[in-house]
């Protein structure tokens, strides 16, 4: 007997009870348009568990204060929790040092910070920045702006018809002029998981700096920044069951130390006079102004929630539900799934013959099913597939096979309504 086939991943089998997990998310238990809510727009933002909601309320109810400055009781508590939250984030992505965890508003701000604070002083005309066709606009536009500022050039790795990163083409794009490689870990439009370790390795061989957009990966798959070996890794709190307006930029200490600050203001300084200002140490050098204190603490609660369930158990559950849903959706005549890479997670992007994604979205909403219809902030990728928009069902740890069935029934209703 083939031993490989006998191998059952030990990731949380029988330990993950989705019905128990659902009880942790108050928002899920409501009727929408007369139907139980089926929330499949997790790629846009995720719902929040009770633990996060309570942590945020508790902060405001008991110890709201500014940090790093007060000598009073509340400020000491707030500072301690804010910095403890940093330790939680550090462990979650396995950063080597807590000072490598910079709080930002989200993935977008993290990428902009790197483009401006790392890229702008270092790049010159004809240097090259390599990204891929499947990037979110937030991992395209900051680099285009940097190109305009420095005269550097943007190079784009193509994707296959299945939605995979074309690795051979990538290797050909790399060269002595390559200074930055920035790519997405898990595509928000396709669900493709990119071979980031290999991508980073090849970039390093050329001496290029690497940044990964982790907005979609962090809620779904294990992320170990030291194992990946990237220089920067950015993710958003709200996509991993935390609050909006908070995110993390991981950066290797050596690079962060060498960079000038992104913004000036309070908290990022050591001393200020009108003649000269000296900057604070990491990570504070990059955290000007009063930060999103409660956001950071709420994010730590979210990361603890994910860790307690176990990211491997979450991934196994999601893969099971998404595989089930994919098979059922693909069976519907006239449906074409965009993004069929073998390595994918969490997302089913699809087209229906003769029916526009917006109409699909509205008809599904009438049945309480929330999906996203549009270009998903990946217009170049849509162009690559020759479409203006897709319908996207994006799953999270609390979604069930029953919800997948509801989605399928909903799509059949769309077909019925728009039949020719």
């Amino acid at each position: 007997m083939n031993e490989a086939k006998l191998h059952i991943p030990a990731r949380g089998r029988n330990l993950f009870d989705v019905n128990e997990v659902r009880k942790d998310f108050p928002v899920l238990h409501q009727m929408v348009n007369g139907h139980p809510l089926v929330y499949l727009d997790n790629g846009a933002t995720s719902q929040k568990p009770r633990a996060v909601i309570d942590t945020v309320s508790h902060y405001y109810e008991t110890y709201n204060a500014n940090i790093h400055r007060g000598v009073h009781f509340l400020s000491e508590n707030a500072t301690r929790e804010y910095e403890a939250a940093r330790d939680t984030a550090q462990k979650f992505i396995n950063a080597a040092d807590r000072r490598e965890v910079i709080y930002v508003r989200g993935t977008t701000e993290g990428i902009n910070l790197v483009a401006q604070a790392y890229g702008r002083p270092r790049l010159k005309a004809d240097d090259e920045i390599v990204i891929s066709t499947m990037e979110h606009h937030s991992n395209i536009v900051p680099w285009q702006m940097l190109c305009q500022q420095t005269g550097a050039k943007l190079k784009v790795v193509p994707v296959t018809d299945e939605g995979e990163f074309e690795f051979e083409a990538y290797l050909k794009l790399l060269g002595p002029k390559t200074r930055i490689v920035a790519t997405v870990h898990l595509s928000n439009s396709l669900g493709t998981i990119n071979p980031v370790k290999k991508i980073v390795e090849a970039a390093k061989a050329q001496g290029a700096m690497t940044l990964l957009d982790g907005a979609q990966s962090v809620p779904h798959i294990p992320v170990d920044v030291q194992d990946i070996g990237c220089d920067f890794y950015a993710f958003s709190g709200h996509k991993v069951f935390g609050p909006t307006g908070i995110g993390v930029l991981y950066g290797r200490q050596e690079l962060l130390d060498d960079m000038e600050p992104y913004q000036g203001g309070g908290d990022m300084i050591r001393t200020v006079s009108f003649e000269e200002t000296t900057y604070n140490d990491l990570p504070h050098k990059f955290e000007a102004g009063t930060p999103n204190i409660v956001g950071a603490i709420g994010l730590a609660a979210a990361l603890d929630y994910v860790s307690n369930l176990g990211i491997d158990a979450i991934a196994a559950h999601e893969d099971d539900v998404v595989a089930y849903a994919t098979e059922k959706v693909a069976d519907i005549p006239g449906i074409r799934i965009i993004g069929t890479a073998p390595e994918k997670s969490g997302i089913i992007s699809f087209l229906m013959d003769g029916v526009h994604p917006h109409d699909i979205g509205t008809v599904l909403d009438s049945q309480g099913i929330a999906i996203r219809a549009g270009h998903h902030c990946t217009m170049p990728l849509m162009k690559r597939f020759g479409v203006a928009a897709t319908s996207r069902a994006s799953f999270a740890l609390y979604n069930t096979k029953e919800e997948a069935d509801a989605l399928v029934a909903g799509i059949w209703k769309v077909k019925e309504m728009f039949k020719r």
Partner: protein
């Protein structure tokens, strides 16, 4: 929510078989392209206007059922109308779609067949789909002094 109020049979019919589509009339002298950055939809409206009268009209582009039906119904309504009447019709549709609350009987009647578009008012996110072709029409008409000639 009753979906049939949005997707009335007239809307579904015009989506299935859009009138004056895809079409750029011979001798088009007014044209504009409309774009909804939210969804990536785009529509082009083409008019042949002679002596202030809309002699022919057509549209091109890709859109949802609501924007396609709206464009199709619009082109039907425009043919043979004066430029001034077309502007009045734009105002009437625009005001009816953007106004809060229930549309009065009088306004509904004044819209005639176009009144089916009012179903979209229950779906705030979709109002732009219905108004896109009309805004594009307005842009095309404004170019009265700088006609775009075909061929």
């Amino acid at each position: 929510m009753d979906l049939r109020a949005l997707y009335e049979e007239v809307i579904l019919d015009h989506n299935r078989n859009p009138r004056n589509y895809p079409k750029r009339p011979e001798g088009t002298n007014h044209t504009a392209e409309g774009h909804n950055p939210l969804c990536g939809d785009h529509v082009s409206v083409h008019l042949r206007v002679e002596n202030g009268m809309i002699q022919d009209v057509g549209f091109e582009g890709d859109g949802c059922a609501i924007s396609t039906a709206s464009a199709s119904l619009m082109t039907e309504a425009l043919k043979g109308k004066s430029e001034a009447d077309a502007k009045v019709l734009f105002d009437r549709i625009h005001d009816a779609l953007m106004a809060d609350g229930v549309t009065s009987q009088q306004v509904t009647e004044s819209l005639g067949k176009l009144a089916v578009l009012l179903g979209v008012k229950e779906y705030p996110m979709r109002v732009k789909c219905a108004t896109l072709p009309w805004h594009t029409l307005q842009a095309a008409l404004k170019r009265f002094d700088e006609p775009v000639t075909t061929e």
